[in-house]
Amino acid sequence: MMLELRYFAWLRERLGTEREAVETDAATIGELVAELRAKSDRHAHVFADMSAIRAAVDQELVAMDAAIGGAREVAFFPPMTGG
């Protein structure tokens, strides 16, 4: 399936893009991350330490083992610092 990926804050800066479209069969966020790590050195570096990264599926915060079947948009970003 086609997924729209969104990146925020330092992930956006280090990847050099705020969005990219990927073709994937990943069933979970974890599987998607494994695919992304293989995509480029830059991706491998950004996704090395997942303890510093949060994910959202279709704009809902999810755990790393969350399913992404049917999702249109997956976002990766650091822990939030609003307020």
Binding site: A56, T81, G83
Partner: protein
């Protein structure tokens, strides 16, 4: 801001007194009104030049609305409002504000703290501080996540 909106996400500065007064008009005679306003500090020996706030348009509004609904379900409230800015902010400018109204002050206080705790860790905002030494993303505090456990 006087139109009764309860979730406001904007780049423009806001007048906290005007927001409080407009909110008070919507509280339907509640006895207790609490507000919290976060302001850009002069940190690090006063060398903060600016704060830049990035957010996730779409998810931001949904997350804030969900947090507000949660507060309305948990506490006995007459009204609740969340306002948060994004973009470029100068020192001493207001960053965000929550306001709650309730028949009893304990509900108004607890709900305002609840909104703040959840907003810090569950709403997709990221702060970057610009100083003479460069730009740096603000790190999330372990405290922020711990603060959720009390609710």
């Amino acid at each position: 801001m006087g139109d009764g909106k309860t979730i406001i996400v904007q780049a423009a500065p806001f007048d906290m007194g005007a927001v409080l007064n407009a909110f008070a008009e919507t509280t339907d005679g509640a006895g207790a009104i609490v507000s919290f306003c976060g302001v850009v500090r002069d940190v690090a020996a006063g060398d903060l030049e600016a704060m830049v706030i990035e957010h996730y348009p779409g998810m931001t509004e949904k997350a804030l609305a969900a947090i507000r609904e949660d507060a309305l379900n948990r506490f006995s409230l007459s009204a609740a409002l969340i306002l948060h800015r994004y973009g470029h902010l100068a020192p001493r400018e207001p960053i965000m504000m929550v306001a709650t109204a309730a028949p009893h002050r304990s509900d108004a206080f607890a709900a305002a703290e609840f909104l703040m705790d959840y907003l810090k860790s569950r709403a997709p905002f990221w702060k970057k501080e610009i100083t003479g030494r460069g730009a740096e993303w603000v790190a999330a505090q372990d405290d922020d996540e711990a603060a959720l456990r009390r609710w």
